[in-house]
Structure formats: C-alpha cells, structure tokens
C-alpha cells in the first residue's frame, strides 16, 4: 500500500511547523505532491481490468480486430490491382500499403477509444464516487490508460496477427521480422494517439468538446501537419531550414510511424526515392522508437498533471 508523507495539507494546525505548501496561497492546499512512491499498482490493475473487460464484453476488441484483418487482407491481395496484378507480391510493398492505411485508421480508432475516458465519467457523474475511494487521481488515469491500451493492443495484434498467419507460408524469416516490426510500430502509434486522447479527455469540459478536440487532433496530425511542412518547404524553396525539415516530422507521431516503416525497409526506401535526402538518425529504429515512447509518455504525463490540479 501507499507510503506516507507524500501529501501535504494546507492550513495545518498551529502545533505543526509550516510546510512549504502551507506557506503558499490557498489553491495549494490538499493537493497531492508529485511522488512516484504514492502509486499503488493494484489499484491501477483493478481500473485497467475493468476498462479492458468492458471492451471485450461489448465486442469493441473483436470489431476492431476484424476491421484490421479485413483491410490488411484486401491490401495484401488486391493492393497491386491498379497495376493489373492481383495476389500477394512482396512483404515490403504490402507493408508500404498497410502503412498508408494504418496511418489514417489507428489514430482515429485510438482517439475514439480514449476521448471519453475521463470526461465521460465526469459528465455521467460517476467520477466523484470513484474519487472518494482509496485511489489517487494518478492511479485512476494510469488504470484507464492501461486498460484501454491493452484493448487497442490486443485488437492490433489479433487483427494484423491473423493476416500474418495467413501470409506466413509465403514469407521468409526476414519478411516475418519486418511484418512483426510493422505490427509493433502500429501498436506504438495507437498508444501515442490514445495518450493524446486521454489528455484531451482530462482537459475537455464536456464530452461534445472532447469529441471535437479528438476529431481536430486527427485532422491536424494525419491530414494538415504534412501539408504545413510541405507548404513551408515550398514557400521557402528549401533555402531556410532544409536540414531541420526531416526532424520536424518527429513532432508528429503519425510521421514517426511512417518514417519507422518506410525508411527501415530498403526496397521501400528506394521505391519512395528518398533514400539520399534523409539524415541517418531518422533511419535508426531505436531513436524513432524512443521518440514514439516520448509521444506516449508526454501527453499522459500532462494529463496526470492536469487531473491532479
């Protein structure tokens, strides 16, 4: 259970020495201080378990997994139909096509999954009751996120894993490794947008606003961001900040996902004809994975900070 001493209370009785918190103006009172040791993982697991089983029971996980499987199969077998060929070609071309699909689909699904997490409970009125229980706000957010993340991860693995199994007779070990890498990066992409969704859910005052913010976030990162960067590049004719441009892509988790998949596959890199303009650091999966991790942890940390205020 919880250690002691991590909370401070404003306006202590006179017999107590003043704490740093009590010397501050009133809003400081009764707020928990940031301290990692105040986390009870059991409480997180209970909330996470409920969120996860809710999604299993209402068949959300099944539905999303089926959507992934259906799309991935169609892309694997009919992706080259425009070129007059039908049937599975190479894993690299398949992954390139899947990336184009997943980059729209997963952020949307993750945002829809998470936008309601906190604001929904607040609007329905169940949040107050939860917060009177022996659980901290931080544990509540982490529990919600973990449960939803588990549901999304499970769907992604089941959906794309099924396709991997179907394709496996035609794949060698390297191809399977690439496909597993694609699946892993798709999970990271989902977790990053889920983190953004939970953050929006904490900031939004009602569900309508939260859903608006979620749609806006999707438009910005998936549709607008690349256009903005491209526009800047064209307007400046590449004279200013040309070297910085590729790094700007790290400011968008969807682009990090694209870069992760596109520039770590030789064939695809050649296909896109971009091999030479990209800095070496951006083809390092570890660095890109680290950036993705930042996109998962960052918004979640902001959500916790805000929720504890």
């Amino acid at each position: 259970m919880m250690g002691s001493g991590e909370w401070e209370v404003g306006n202590p009785p006179h017999r107590q020495p003043p704490t740093p918190c009590s010397l501050l103006p009133a809003p400081c009172s009764l707020l928990p201080k940031t301290n990692m040791f105040s986390i009870d993982f059991r409480q997180i697991a209970i909330v996470a378990g409920k969120e996860f089983w809710d999604r299993i029971r209402n068949r959300w996980v099944l539905a999303v997994a089926l959507v992934f499987t259906a799309f991935a199969l169609v892309i694997a077998y009919f992706g080259a139909a425009q070129q007059g060929a039908v049937g599975f070609r190479s894993i690299e071309v398949t992954i390139a096509s899947l990336v184009s699909l997943v980059i729209y689909l997963i952020p949307l699904i993750a945002l829809i999954l998470g936008f309601d997490a906190v604001v929904g409970e607040r609007e329905r009125g169940s949040l107050d009751l939860l917060l009177t229980l022996p659980i901290t706000r931080r544990e509540l957010i982490l529990g919600k996120y973990t449960g939803l993340a588990a549901a999304l991860t499970f769907s992604t693995i089941a959906g794309f894993g099924a396709v991997g199994l179907i394709l496996s007779p035609q794949l060698n070990l390297t191809a399977l490794f690439h496909y597993a890498g694609f699946m892993f990066s798709a999970i990271l992409l989902g977790l990053a947008f889920l983190s953004l969704a939970v953050m929006l859910s904490v900031f939004a005052s009602d569900r309508t606003r939260a859903s608006g913010l979620a749609i806006g976030t999707w438009f910005f990162f998936v549709l607008v961001f690349d256009l903005l960067i491209l526009g800047m590049l064209v307007v400046t004719a590449g004279d200013y900040g040309g070297a910085v441009f590729p790094y700007l892509l790290l400011l968008n988790p969807a682009d990090v996902f694209r870069v992760l998949n596109v520039f770590t596959l030789d064939e695809v890199r050649t296909l896109y004809g971009l091999a030479t303009v990209f800095p070496e650091a951006l083809s390092n999966p570890t660095i890109l994975g680290g950036v993705m991790l930042g996109w998962i942890v960052g918004p979640l940390a902001v959500a916790i900070w805000r929720f504890e205020r």
Partner: protein, 304 residues
C-alpha cells in the same frame, strides 16, 4: 478514537470571486446521525465535497477521525468512509454483483462480502441483472450497498432517498438505525425535511455559505421560540368556551377548521393554557399539541 469523527474549522471555499462556503465550524461525534439541510446553493454540496476530499479547501481544515481526508494516511481514512452520491451513477454494462465486486476490489474488501450486502438492500434477486435494467430505486439501493462495502465507520449520504418508494424509504431508515446501533456515524442531506426531522440526532442548517444553527430539532425549535399549535376537537359552542377560558393568555391566532380549533400560542403560554383547557371537561373531545415542524424551523432561520 477521536471524540469527534468529523471536525471542520473555519472552512471556506472560493470559486473565483464567489465564496460558496464562508467559514464553517462543525463537529460530529462518533455514532451520530447528522442532518445537513439547506436550500439549493446554500453551500451544503460544496461542504460535502470538501469533507469527502473531492475539492480542495480554500482555507481552514477538515479532519476525518483526526486525519485530513487527503492527508498522508488518505487510503486508511477513505476506507473508513462510505459515500452515496445524489442520483448515484453506476456502470450500466455491469451486473449488480459485478458493480459491487469492482468497488470492493478498489476498497480492498473481500468479494465474498458482496452478496450479503446485496441481500441487505433487497437486491439479491437482481444480482445477475445488468444495471441498465435497474429502476431508479434499485440503482439507489445498489449505490447504498456500495457505500456500505468494508463496514465504513462514517457514511456520507447525499439525498439518499431520492427515487425510493415509501416502503424502500422505511427499509432504508431501518438499515440506518441498525448501523447506528453498530456505532456508524452518518451525515446526510435531504430536501424532505419531514422525512428526517424524527430520524436525525442533530442537524445543521446552512444558508448563504454559513451554518446558521446546529442542534437537535427540539433545541432548534426552542432557540427559534416558534409558536406551537393546540388542536382541539369538540362539540357545539367549543370556540366560545375556549375563548372564555383562555382569556388573558397571549394567543397569536385562533382558526376554526370544521369541528377543530387551531390555536397558535407562544411556547411559554403552553402550560397555563393546557391547565385552563383541562377545566372544559366534556366539551373538549380531543387535544393535540403540535410542535413547529423542521420546515417551520428551517424557514424561521432563513427568514429570521
């Protein structure tokens, strides 16, 4: 054990420029059934939320069993508390028993205790049904069962009988009496003053962010010095005879409704008036002394 289980001292709460609670002192003894009454906007919900640690206090302090509710031992403190919110919202997709399991897990209460609690609130028959199929009264009962998880020493009940039918309200107060017998302290709010006036040990009247009065219903009545009413039933000529024997006694008003006389008089005139009325003999068939209701007391404080 502390001599008070809930202690509030100089508690204020500001929302921007509006001060919702303006310096409240309150102490509730263990085992008390304590009522908090006030009209909407009086500050009682805000005070309730501060006692539960849901919103920070602007100044002052609240202690639950000697500890700040969000203090270093906040998990222990919260395990002592049960809370039933007004119009409790639970999870529609869970069954009754699953709902209790979820809250039991979070309160670290064994799941085997849940079935008995459902039985206690009369929901055993609906344990396996989804909450979305529950009526408003059933949800309220389930919410109450949730509040009772872990045998809390202190219960906060916000408008607890909302949505309950008269039979369920009676059952509810029967359970509260049992809990009181076990030494549980209960703080409850209600709009239905007639419902709580005979049931609470003490109460506080809130108005404009302040506690205007605390005490038992009787001490509040006496402090307000509200007039009481004698209701006298009798035969023909009753009004004249009563008027005659009560001559010289300070009576506020006499109204005749059918064969019953309603006489309002100050509290101190009660005993002299009764002594004289006793001389009427058979003319008087029945006599009742009606004390001012909690509603009269409440409006007395609001308007006075």
């Amino acid at each position: 054990m502390a001599s008070t289980i809930v202690e509030a001292r100089g508690v204020t709460k500001d929302f921007g420029t509006v001060q919702a609670v303006k310096g409240v002192d309150l102490s509730i003894a263990p085992g008390e059934l304590y009522g908090l009454i006030g009209h909407n906007g009086a500050g009682k919900s805000t005070l309730f939320k501060m006692m539960l640690g849901l919103i920070p206090i602007t100044s002052g302090e609240i202690r639950i069993d000697g500890e700040p509710v969000n203090g270093p031992r906040f998990r222990e403190t919260r395990r002592k508390i049960g809370y039933l919110p007004e119009n409790v919202v639970l999870y529609d997709n869970l069954t009754g028993i699953e709902t209790l399991f979820f809250f039991a897990d979070l309160k670290a209460v064994p799941r085997r205790d849940c079935a008995a609690l459902l039985d206690k609130v009369g929901l055993s028959h609906a344990a396996g049904r989804r909450v979305r199929e529950y009526s408003k009264g059933m949800r309220q009962r389930l919410g109450f069962a949730q509040a009772l998880l872990g045998t809390p020493r202190l219960l906060f009940l916000d408008e607890p009988t909302t949505g309950l039918d008269p039979g369920a309200i009676r059952d509810f107060y029967r359970i509260l009496r049992e809990l009181k017998g076990e030494g549980v302290t209960m703080v409850l709010t209600s709009h239905i003053l007639a419902e709580i006036q005979e049931r609470v040990d003490r109460l506080a009247i809130m108005e404009g962010g302040l506690i205007r009065a605390t005490g038992t219903v009787q001490t509040l009545r006496e402090a307000m010095n509200l007039p009481l009413t004698l209701e006298i039933a009798g035969g023909a000529g009753l009004a004249e005879q009563v008027g005659r024997v009560l001559e010289g006694i300070a009576i506020e008003s006499i109204e005749e409704a059918g064969s019953v006389l309603h006489i309002r008089l100050p509290r101190e005139a009660k005993m002299p008036a009764l002594a004289r009325l006793a001389t009427l003999g058979d003319t008087m068939r029945d006599l009742r002394v009606r004390e001012p209701s909690l509603e009269d007391v409440f409006f007395g404080y609001r308007n006075g």
